[in-house]
C-alpha cells in the first residue's frame, strides 16, 4: 500500500558474509544471491471470510504487492520462506500464490512452520520445495529460533518487535530484526500480522523496520 520505491536498506556482516536488511522485513544474503522471508501468513483474509468475518478481499493483494516489491529489488536466485507462509488450510488465496509462483524465476524453498498445514505435495506441484530446516555453511535456517552448536541461526515465528521510549512520555512499538549472539530473528513479512515485543539484553542488536527504512537501534 503506497510503499515508497526508494527503500533504505541496512547492510550487516555476520561471520564474514554480507546480509542486506530490507524495510519489508526481507533479508538478502549477497554472496549466495538468496532472499529470506519469514511469516507471510498468506490466506488469512480468505480464512476469515470463509468463517463469516467480512474482511475486505482487496486486502489480500497487499502481501503480493510487497512480495513483488522485494523480489524486484533484489532479483534473487533463490527465495527461502522461513515458515508460516500460509496461515491455514488451502483457500482461494492459493490461486493467487500459484499465479505469483508462475511469474517468479527464482528457486523457492519453504522451511516448515507451525502454521504450515498444507500438504508438501501441493507446494511441490507449484515448484516449492518443503523442508524442515536448511543448512548452508555455518548458517542454519529454521522457523522456530534455535540454539545449535557451531551454527548461526536465522528464524522467524516470533514476529519480533521492540518498544522505544523517549522524552515527554513518548513511546513507539515497531517490528524489528532481532539479533542475538548466534541468532537473527526476522520480523513478520505479512501485512496485519501483529508483533511480539522483546526486551533487548546486553549484546543484542535491534534493527527497527519502518515503511521506508531499516534503523539500527543504538541501545
Amino acid at each position: 500500500m503506497g510503499r515508497p520505491v526508494i527503500a533504505m536498506t541496512k547492510n550487516i556482516n555476520i561471520l564474514g558474509q554480507t546480509f542486506i536488511l530490507h524495510p519489508s522485513g526481507g533479508m538478502f544474503w549477497e554472496e549466495e544471491d538468496l532472499l529470506v522471508i519469514s511469516d507471510v501468513h498468506l490466506g488469512k483474509v480468505a480464512h476469515f471470510r470463509k468463517h463469516g468475518s467480512a474482511i475486505p478481499q482487496l486486502a489480500l493483494k497487499g502481501n503480493f504487492l510487497k512480495l513483488d516489491l522485494v523480489t524486484g529489488f533484489f532479483d534473487p536466485k533463490k527465495i527461502i520462506f522461513l515458515g508460516d507462509l500460509f496461515h491455514s488450510y488451502i483457500n482461494y488465496e492459493w490461486q493467487h500464490f500459484d499465479q505469483w509462483m508462475q511469474d517468479i524465476s527464482a528457486e523457492v524453498v519453504l522451511v516448515e512452520g507451525n502454521h504450515d498445514v498444507i500438504s508438501p505435495k501441493k507446494y511441490e506441484a507449484l515448484g516449492v520445495k518443503v523442508i524442515p530446516e536448511l543448512i548452508i555453511g555455518d548458517f542454519l535456517f529454521t522457523h522456530h529460533p534455535e540454539e545449535r552448536e557451531n551454527c548461526f541461526n536465522f528464524s522467524g515465528h516470533i514476529h519480533p518487535g521492540v518498544k522505544i521510549n523517549g522524552m515527554a512520555r513518548q513511546q513507539l512499538k515497531l517490528p524489528c530484526f532481532f539479533r542475538r549472539q548466534n541468532q537473527m530473528i526476522l520480523p513478520a513479512f505479512g501485512e496485519f500480522t501483529g508483533k511480539h515485543i522483546l526486551e533487548p539484553k546486553a549484546g543484542d542488536e535491534v534493527y527497527v523496520v519502518t515503511k521506508e527504512e531499516v534503523i539500527y537501534l543504538n541501545t
Partner: protein
Amino acid sequence: MSGEARRKGKPMNKTELLNIAQTWFKTQNWKSFAFQKQTWNDFLQGKNGLLNAPTGSGKTYALWIPIVLDYIKQNPDYKTKHKPGLKAIWITPLRALSVEIEQAANRFAQEIGSNLTVGIRTGDTSQKLRAAQKKQMPDLLITTPESLQLLLSSKGYDKTFKNLNAIVIDEWHELLGTKRGVQIELALSRLKNVSPKMKIWGISATIGNLQQAREVLLGPDSEAFKNSVLIKADLKKKITVKSIIPEKMETFPWRGHLGLHLLDEVVPIIRKSRTTLLFTNTRSQCEIWFQRILQRYPEFAGELAMHHGSINKETRLWVEQAIRDEQLKAVVATSSLDLGVDFAPVETIIQIGGPKGVARFLQRAGRSGHQPGKESVIYFLPTHAMELIEASALQKAAKTTAVEDRIPYLQSFDVLVQYLTTLAVSDGFFPKEIFPEVKSTFCYQALSEDQWEWLLNFVTKGSQTLQAYDEYKKIEIEENGLFKVNNRAIAMRHRLQIGTIVSDAVLAVKYLKGGYIGTIEEWFISKLNPGDVFTFAGKNLELYQIKNMQVIVKKSKVKNSRFPSWAGGRMSFSAQMSELLREEMFVASELLDPVVTPSEVEGSLIGRKKGSVELQALSHIFQRQKKESIIPKKDEFLIETFKTREGYHTIFYPFEGRFVHEAMASLMAYRISLLAPITFSLAFNDYGFELLSDQQIDMQQVFDNNLFSAEYLMDDLQKSLNSTEMARRKFRDIAVISGLVFTGFPNKMIKTKHLQSNSQLLFSVFRDYEPDNLLFQQAFRETFEHQLEEGRLIMAMERISEQKMIWKQCEKPTPFAFPIITDRMREKLSSEKLEDRIKKMMAQWGDL
C-alpha cells in the same frame, strides 16, 4: 370480589380486579401509592407506557399486579384451571436483580392463588433448566436483553411469544444510552408483530430526557407510542449531602483516587448507623477499602462485606440477603449495587471519590432511607483536594435536582448486523418484512434503502461484489428469498457471540482444590507470575497457574499483595456537573479577590463572601494556585505552561469534563502539529487537558493563528482522530458485536490480547482497503457522538471564544495542573516523520 362471579366463571370488571390488589396490599399492611394505582388502571385499559419511579418505591408491584389481574380477567376460572405458556417478560439489565424481582412476583402470584409461575433465564441459568423452559415456558420470564436475543435466535420463537401479553423493561434508563438498549428496540420491533396483544412498559429512574426515553422504547410515531402514558411517581425525597472534610487540609493530597487518608473519619459514621453502604468508583478501590478497614479495625470482621461485579454470584446474593436481614454493619460496593435491589436497613451512604454525574449520585443517595418520607443522607469523601469542589457542586445539584440526559444510539449498524444474523439463525427472514420493522425503531429511523441494501450485501457476500473463488459464508439467500443461516458452525458461533456486548475479557478465578471465586481481567493477571500474591474478593491469593482460561489460585498468608486494577471507572463529568463545577470555581475566584485585608488571607475566608465549607477548606490550595498562576474568572480562559524533566507541559482549563477535554486535546494537538512537526502526549481530567512535548509550543503562534476557532471544527477533529487511537478502540466493540471477530468458545476463549490485535489489525485493513465500509465509519461516528460528545464540544468552543485568554508561564506545576500531569492514561498525536522520531528518541537516551 363477588363470589358469584367466580363461581360462574364470568370475567370480573375493573373494580373487582383492582379490589384484589387493594385487599392484598391491606394484608401486607401497605398503602398503595397514587402512581401504582394509576399504572394499574392504565395497564388494564390496554395502554403502554413509561413509569418514572425510583428504586424501592414499589415499582415492581406497579406493573406485575396489573399483568396478573389482566390474566385473571381473561381466565375467570384461573384458580382451578392454569393456562400454560409465556404471558409476560420482565427485562432487567443486571442478572443480580432477577432474584429480587422473582421473589416479589411470586409473593403476589401465590398469595392471591393465581397459580402463575415465575422463572429466570439469564447467562447463569443451567443448561438443564433452559431446556425445560424451552419445553414449557413459565408464565412470567425474567431475563436480560442478551437472553431475549438468544430466544429470538431459536427455531419457532414466534410460537413461544404468540400469547405474550406484556413486556416490562426495568431500569430502562440504564439501557437507554447503550447498545443493549438498541438490542431491546430491535427485539420489540419484532415482538410487536409476533405478539399482537403485547403491552410495552418501561420503568426508569429520573433522567433529563424522560419523554424521549418513552419514544425510544415504543418507537417514534408508532401506534404503541400514540397509545401510551408517562407516569411519574413524584415521591419527593429529601437528600442531604455532607462532605467529609479532613481536619488538617494542609496534609491532604493533591492527587490520588483512593481516599484512604480519611478512613478513620469514616468509621464513626459506620458505627452510628444501622447499615452503611460505601460506594467506590472502581473494583480495585473497593477491594482496597475493604481490606484496609479490616486491617485497622479488626472488630468489623463478620460485619463488613464487599460487593462488586467480579465476585461470584453466590457471594453477591449472600451479601444482598445479609443486608436485608440486617446482619451487616457496612458493605463496600461498586456500581454493582447501584440498581434495583431494595435494602430497607440501609441508613447511610458514603460516596468515596467523585461520582462524576448528578443522576448517579442522587441514585446512590436514594439507596438509604428507603421508607417513603425518610431523609436520604449521603456522605461525600473526597480522594484528593480538588474533589472538594465537586462536593460543593453536588450540594447544589441535590437541591436543584438537575439530572443528565441519556443519549440513545443512532444507526448502530453493528447491532443491526448482529440482529439480522440472529433472525437468520432461527427461522430466517424476508427483508421486505423486516425492513419496515427496523425502520420503525428510534435507532434506525433514518436508515436509508441504500444502507439497508449495503447491510444485506454485507451479511450475505461480505460487502463485496461477488467474485470468483470467494468462499465467504454467513447468511445464504434461499430460492424463495428467505435469508437464512444453514451452516451449523456459524449458527453456534453467533449464539455464543450474542452475550458479548463488549466487556473486557475476564478469566474465572478458582481454587486449586476447586471452588469458584469470581472473575478477573486478563490484562491484570497476565502481569503476574506463578507464586505472586494478589488480593481478590477480600482474600490474599497466590497464583498457581493459568490454564484453559482459568486462574488457579491457592490461599496465601502473605500480607503484602498486589491489588488488581480493573479497567473502567474512567467516567466523565456530565454537562450539568461541569457547569456546576465552573460555577463553584468562579465562586472560589471571587472569594480570593484582593479586596481582602492581609490578615484575612492568612486565616480562613469565613466572614466575607461566604463559600461552602468545602471551598473554605480548600482555601490554602486556592491561595497556592493563585500565587503560582490564577483562578480563572467567568470571562477568563486559563492556559499554563511550564517545564519539568519530563518535557514541556501546556495545560488548558476549560472545565468541561473529561470527554470534552479528550476531544479538545486531540483537536488542539492536531492544529498545533500543523504549524511544525511535533509529537504530543495528551492527558485529560475533568478540569482540563495537557499537551506534553519534547519541544516548546510557540503559544504566540497559537493565539495569532486563532487555533481555538470553532470554524472547521468537525473537519479538524475528524483528521485528528485519524492520528489518535480513539476510533480504533471504538472499532473493537463494533467488530465484536457485528461478528467480524470471534471471541471464542467458552473455556477456550481467545485471549483478549489476540482479540484486541485482531480488531486493531482489522481496523487498519478497513482503513487501507475499504474505508467506506459502514461499520468502519461507525467507529468514527460513535467516537464523535458518544465519546467526544460533539454537541457539547461545539458549545464549549463557542463559550471559550468569548473568553479572555490568560497565558501563565509558571515556574512549576500548579495545584490545578498536578492531577493532570501525573495521569498515566494518555493519547498520542504526532506530525513528525516516524524515522525522525526514532532517531530523535535515540539521541535523547544520552540525556536521560
